[in-house]
């Protein structure tokens, strides 16, 4: 079970290799990627901060729970921190399972739980300000920076 919070670039091939199993008929990989816009506003880049030791602990708990719920052969969860440019990967998950249905369903569950429970925060930086995003789908505080 590959679990990692890191400032380094996330490499899908590493996660895929880590969940490989001769009993797996399906591998699902999800990349959370930095988009150039959010809620109608143009985004320059994102800055991710984590409580790294706790984040890895919670990621491992969620991954272990997913193995029980969905019968995965193996799971990998990696989250990147620091400044991420448009198109870069912030979250990388990979799951291997006997059949495809649970790889999609369980992969989606895993991403949802990670967004709800893992102590990681992102700050959106625009041309004219910045804001910590508060909550998994929220608008953030929308306050322009004073910097």
């Amino acid at each position: 079970m590959l679990i990692r919070v890191t400032p380094d670039i996330l490499v899908p091939a590493e996660a895929i290799a880590s969940v490989a199993s001769s009993r797996a008929g399906a591998i699902n990989i999800f990349l959370g990627v930095v988009r150039d816009n959010n809620l109608g506003r143009s985004v320059n880049y994102l800055d991710y901060e984590a409580y790294p030791t706790m984040a890895e602990k919670v990621m491992r708990e969620i991954a272990e729970e997913s193995v029980v719920r969905f019968g995965f052969e193996d799971v990998a969860v990696l989250h990147r921190t620091g400044r991420l440019e448009i198109g870069e990967t912030s979250l990388l998950i990979a799951v291997s399972s006997g059949h495809r249905a649970e790889s999609f369903e369980g992969g989606h569950w895993l991403v949802n739980e990670i967004k709800k429970r893992v102590p990681v925060w992102k700050k959106e930086v625009w041309a004219d300000g910045e804001s910590w995003v508060e909550g998994p789908e929220s608008l953030g505080m929308q306050a322009p920076s004073h910097g």
């Binding site: 959370g32 409580y51 706790m54 991403v111 925060w121």
Partner: protein
């Protein structure tokens, strides 16, 4: 004590120690933090707490050398 993200920026600090009257709880520690950093008041209703890297309730007991973290609403992924 550990602060992160919006809370760390508002307080202007990320890490400090606190002497608490025993018996201390997560809630009494939170009140001591607010007394030191009143600017955090508007954030309190949204905070969660982590005691030694586990989410904790307000009535949980804090022992000496515990690490308490204030957790603003998470937004990873």
């Amino acid at each position: 004590m550990l602060l992160f993200a919006s809370v760390a920026e508002r307080a202007g600090t990320r890490k400090f120690t606190l002497d608490l009257a025993e018996p201390a709880t997560v809630g009494s520690a939170r009140d001591a933090i607010l007394a030191r950093y009143p600017a955090l008041e508007p954030f309190v209703h949204n905070l969660m707490y982590a005691l030694n890297e586990e989410y904790a309730r307000e009535n949980e007991t804090i022992t000496p050398r515990s690490t308490l973290a204030l957790i603003p609403p998470v937004s990873g992924g």
